[in-house]
């Protein structure tokens, strides 16, 4: 029995004729301490998948089990990091983490809780900006707070929903390196959802592609056998990396052709721009 099991999970949104099945028949097993990346196009239901795993929403069919127990509700066993940070804007970085720690570890002494928060602030290199409000922090810093908050919960599993999607390329690269470092320290089970192939290869043990929606489902699993620690610089020359990247790209491109064929049937309305200058 795997640590996290998804069995025939399906989820639809909408009512009646507008009902769209977003995810269809998802099967996935994740072992404890494993880093799995779910790779997919935008709008294919990646966030829905993460929300299902975390228990924020319930599947229409199938089941999500963690440690053999069905996930019915979200809880502190599962830490989230979202693309939009989801920090409380009226609290400072430290207070955002305090809120979580104070609530979950009520039996700890005050100083122990403070040390705990300090440790995670330090881990994401934010000790200096701890008293700043989210709006005073850059996107990368906000995401660090969000990561620290999720880790400070001591969750059994971490769900990262395109955590670096809103960041610029340089910040993203440095945060990827940091996430990789933090992960190799305590080897938490992580499910990362992303649309960045390099990010997936850099961080994950296994990569699971999500087919384009609607009725998205998981494709064949790509195992990343590259040794850790991995760095971007080494990648560029590595034949294993090149092959893997090629295989995954090819897999996704095969869908691109598929979608183009169906688009050919759509006839565009005959609209011409009006001449605005001439009245």
């Amino acid at each position: 029995m795997a640590f996290l099991e998804l069995e025939d999970v399906s989820k639809s949104y909408g009512q009646g004729r507008d009902r769209i099945e977003v995810l269809h028949g998802i099967d996935l097993e994740v072992e404890e301490g494993e880093f799995v990346a779910v790779l997919g196009f935008s709008g294919t239901g990646k966030t829905t998948l993460v929300s299902l795993i975390g228990g924020l929403i319930r599947p229409d069919r199938g089941s999500v089990r963690l440690n053999g127990k069905e996930v019915l509700n979200p809880g502190p066993h599962c830490g989230f990091v979202f693309q939009n940070y989801s920090l409380l804007p009226w609290l400072s970085a430290r207070k955002n983490i305090d809120l979580v720690v104070d609530h979950l570890f009520k039996d700890w002494t005050k100083s122990k809780r403070r040390d705990h928060v300090d440790r995670y602030l330090e881990m994401v290199h934010l000790s200096a900006a701890a008293e700043k409000k989210p709006r005073e922090l850059s996107g990368g810093m906000r995401q660090r707070v969000s990561v620290a908050r999720a880790l400070a919960m001591n969750p059994q599993m971490l769900l990262l929903d395109e955590p670096l999607g809103a960041l610029d390329a340089i910040t993203r690269a440095s945060l990827q390196a940091e996430i990789s470092k933090i992960w190799s320290r305590d080897r938490k089970t992580v499910v990362l959802v992303t649309n960045d192939i390099d990010e997936a290869i850099l961080l994950a043990d296994r990569i699971v592609p999500l087919t384009p929606g609607p009725r998205a489902t998981l494709g064949p699993i790509f195992t990343v056998s590259l040794p850790r620690p991995r760095t971007r610089a080494e990648f560029n020359e590595d034949p294993v990396y090149k092959r893997l990247r090629n295989d995954i790209t090819k897999y996704f491109l095969s869908f691109r052709h598929g979608t183009r064929d169906t688009e050919a049937d759509i006839r565009l309305p005959n609209i011409r721009p009006l001449e605005m200058a001439v009245r």
């Binding site: 924020l56 509700n73 979200p74 502190p76 804007p89 809120l99 609530h103 989210p134 919960m153």
Partner: protein, 316 residues
Amino acid sequence: MTKTNSEEWIRQVLFKGGIPLLTFGIFLLIWSRASAGIQTNLGQVPGPGQVVEQVKSLAYEHMNERQKAVEFYKTQKERNAKKLSEDPSAQVKVRKYTGKPTYLDQIGTSLRTVFTGFLIASVVAVPLGILCGLNRTVMTALNPLIQIFKPVSPVAWLPIVTMVVSAVYAVPKDWLPKSYVISSITVSLCCLWPSLINTSIGVSSLDKDYINVGRVLKLGFFAKVFKIVLPASMPYVFAGLRISLGVGWIVLIASEMLAQNPGLGKFIWDEFQNGSSQSLARIMVAVFTIGLIGFALDRVMLFFQKLASFGTEQRA
């Protein structure tokens, strides 16, 4: 500061200060010209000059009245002291000075009343708004009542409130006059709705991510409300409170006029009934006072509203 900077600054001052001053000047000009030609039963419609005259006169009356009060207490004290020195067991009476309330007293009464009403309304409206925003059943249940009572004018409530208060609060305490209770409740009935509606909108349009934070932590109901829902909807709540206080102030004057409850409204009504040649000018003073106080209240609430919003235009 460079030269261009100081030039820019002067231009700004001239623009932001000069234009409103100019408008006000034009307003005064039109007012004095127009008023000069109209004769009423209470004499000529007052121009700016007469109004300023009445401001002085009202201030003088206030000072005069205060002086009388001080003298009254002084002579009372002396009289009692004298009595006691003659006969230590004598029963001395301490009476309150019962002069007529001055214009400043009326302003004070009005402000006290509006704040009491506003406070009652806020204490009811904000929690109820939170419940409405959190729970669709509560919202659906209360919505018809809210929609029906929201457009009702204070004037319609006044007789009912007066009768109910008279029946329930039959023996008024010295420190809590009946008229004060009636006005406050009328005000609160009218400034309940903006706060209630705004709070419920703020809560129900809460960012789902914030709610999810609470769900992941498995926060209880009260922890959720106080740690997440209330702080997150603060900008909406304060926007609602600001509208409420504005409405309350408008409502108060009307209800004071009608119910003959002390305050600025009664001042206006009394002057109207009094019908002296200064009455209209005095009423104009009241009009400006009401306007200025309303403006000040709005600015104070705006300050709190800004304090409570944490850069909402930028999502964190």
